[in-house]
Amino acid sequence: MKQHLSNPPEASVQKKIPSEKLGRFGKRVIRNKILLLMILPAVIYTIVFAYYPMTGVVMAFKKYNYRDGIWGSPWNGIENFRFFFKSGQAGTVIRNTVLYNVAFILVGTVTQMAVAIFLTEIRSKHFRKISQSMMFLPYFISWVIVGVMAFNIFSDDFGFLNKLLVAMGFKKISFYITPKAWPFILVFFEMWKGVGYGSVMYLAAIMGVDTSIYEAAALDGCNVFQRIFYVTIPSIMPTVIILFLMSVGRIFKGNFDMFYNLVGTNGNLFNYTDVIDTLSFRALISSKDFGMSAAVGLFQSVLCFITVVLANRLVKAYDPDYALF
């Protein structure tokens, strides 16, 4: 504090504010100058890498060419959006993105909850630890490696599953040209990769349940199944609902990593596997259509913004403590 009091004249010169006009705000700036200095790198980072690109959404309304750049390129009205919606892809990718996310949320929530509930019922500490570690393993690897694993299982000539089918006397399934199989495959791998990590949240919630409720239930003659359905599950419902609403908020966001590594640029499957993110990526990288890609991106950002705000509203209505803002 002493140091701060001796500083104002210098600091005010730095800030180019006459000392008499310094006022309350200026004084507060000076008093907190070290803290402001600490936060400055992150602020600059966020401006450059998050806020500045936001201004780039104008590209969605431009006929972008490399020579003129973002600001110099001519305006294009809503042509980019019209192209996106007229191409016939808009309906497909929006439908796929939403349906996949719905399936991911439902399957993920149910398996993660089930795993958490069963893990707490298991008495053997070793079994619990080892199985939990095994389930956590997929979380640590990249989707590139998951892509390799999927190929091991589903490839035509070498795939484990096809060899199994043939051995059991069935016909081979050419998965990589069978779009209908992919919703199942993708939902499986999403469940697979998230089950260990996701169940931790529910485990924590179960640990937080007041044990006296269990004792009371036991005294009332509850069997273990009744205990799970009438005590455990209702007790962790707040966590379940909060997590559910938060994932609903991201319903228009496709998991690019997953779709790109498992499906890639395999056009045979796009009807069932193309999501907003992969379409936007291909428009940018393959067709160099910056305008349409930006339009798709902006469309998605706006949808995401609306759903997150709505989801947060619902969380807030349910339990204000968990609201994000």
């Binding site: 507060r28 803290l35 600490m38 936060i39 069963f118 990249s142 484990f160 273990v224 930006a294 991106g297």
Partner: protein, 304 residues
């Protein structure tokens, strides 16, 4: 409870136990199987895989695939070096950035903490999207084919910031006030008083950042064209998706001098061996770091 027959009580416990053990074991095994398949594929001979496909147990034992990977070790080693340097640098810088920012936002005597919190938080609600970011990196900043394009995107994340912030908020304010009265500056309060108290959060957030860098392939795909600069995961992505090109590279670059044809090199098992070589360290480090990730989820859930 006593009035009920012992048998009846045990019946439902036994039933639950059977279900719980079976279900958990099933999921756990399901999680492990693809890993085993990759490993057994990597130790199989190309001939066996071509004839019988991938399997859970190696059909024979062959080091052919690994020998091929290490025919030109420099290629893999370079990708390893790139990823290691990036991970270490990114984690150190990211941790510093995240901790400093979280420390300021957690200080109750910082007058603008709500405003700044929202400033950071808003970026998770709305983003410019892929194209403006791509143009920023490649054109505005001119970072195409520059390692910085791999470093910057993962340096700072609001999710990690929130974990760190909620952890620092657990440090009693009186500690900061006492230190301040004793004449400690803010940097001193952060580095000498706060940091030792938040070691678990440092470990958790540090590992989150490290894992993000280690597993990153996306930014390399967007910004890096130069093959020699590929980080590990993108290197793997490229090789398994164009394994013939990789074989050609091995054939051309090999040190021993004798001419080999790409036809003599394995294909499927080579992919598997490369995957094992790339994944190995993560799997080996995993038992030691798992608990920190568990911690991260819990902090994020309870206090976030």
């Amino acid at each position: 409870m006593k009035r009920k027959s012992r048998l009846k009580i045990q019946k439902d416990v036994i039933a639950l136990n059977i279900i719980a053990y079976t279900f958990t074991a099933l999921i756990a095994i399901l999680c492990l199987l693809p890993f085993i398949m990759v490993i057994s594929g990597s130790f199989s001979s190309e001939r066996a895989v071509a004839a019988n496909g991938f399997s859970l147990v190696p059909q024979d034992f062959s080091l052919e695939a690994y020998k091929t990977v290490f025919k030109t070790p420099s290629v893999v080693i370079r990708a390893y070096a790139t990823t290691t340097v990036l991970t270490v640098t990114g984690t150190a810088l990211g941790l510093l950035l995240q901790t400093m920012t979280a420390f300021v936002l957690a200080r109750k005597d910082f007058p603008w903490r709500n405003g700044f919190s929202f400033f950071f938080y808003f970026t998770t609600l709305f983003s410019g999207g892929l194209v403006p970011t791509y143009v920023l990196y490649t054109r505005t900043l001119g970072l195409a084919n520059n390692y910085l394009a791999l470093l910057f995107p993962l340096l700072f994340s609001v999710f990690n910031l929130l974990i760190m912030k909620s952890y620092i908020m657990g440090v009693p304010d009186t500690l900061f006030e006492a230190a301040k009265i004793d004449g400690a500056g803010d940097f001193r309060i952060l580095f000498q008083i706060t940091l030792p108290l938040i070691k678990p959060a440092l470990a958790t957030v540090g590992l989150f950042i490290a894992l993000a860098y280690w597993n990153d392939w996306y930014n390399a795909m967007l910004y890096i064209r130069e093959e020699k600069m590929f980080p590990l995961q993108y290197f793997l992505y490229k090789q398994v998706n164009s394994i013939e090109a990789y074989k050609k590279m091995i054939a051309n670059n090999q040190v021993s001098g004798d001419v080999i044809s790409t036809l003599s090199l394995p294909t499927q098992t080579l992919k598997m061996a490369l995957t094992v070589v790339v994944t190995g360290p993560i799997i080996l480090a995993f038992p030691f770091v798992q608990k920190y990730f568990v911690q991260g989820v819990t902090i994020g859930a309870v206090k976030g």
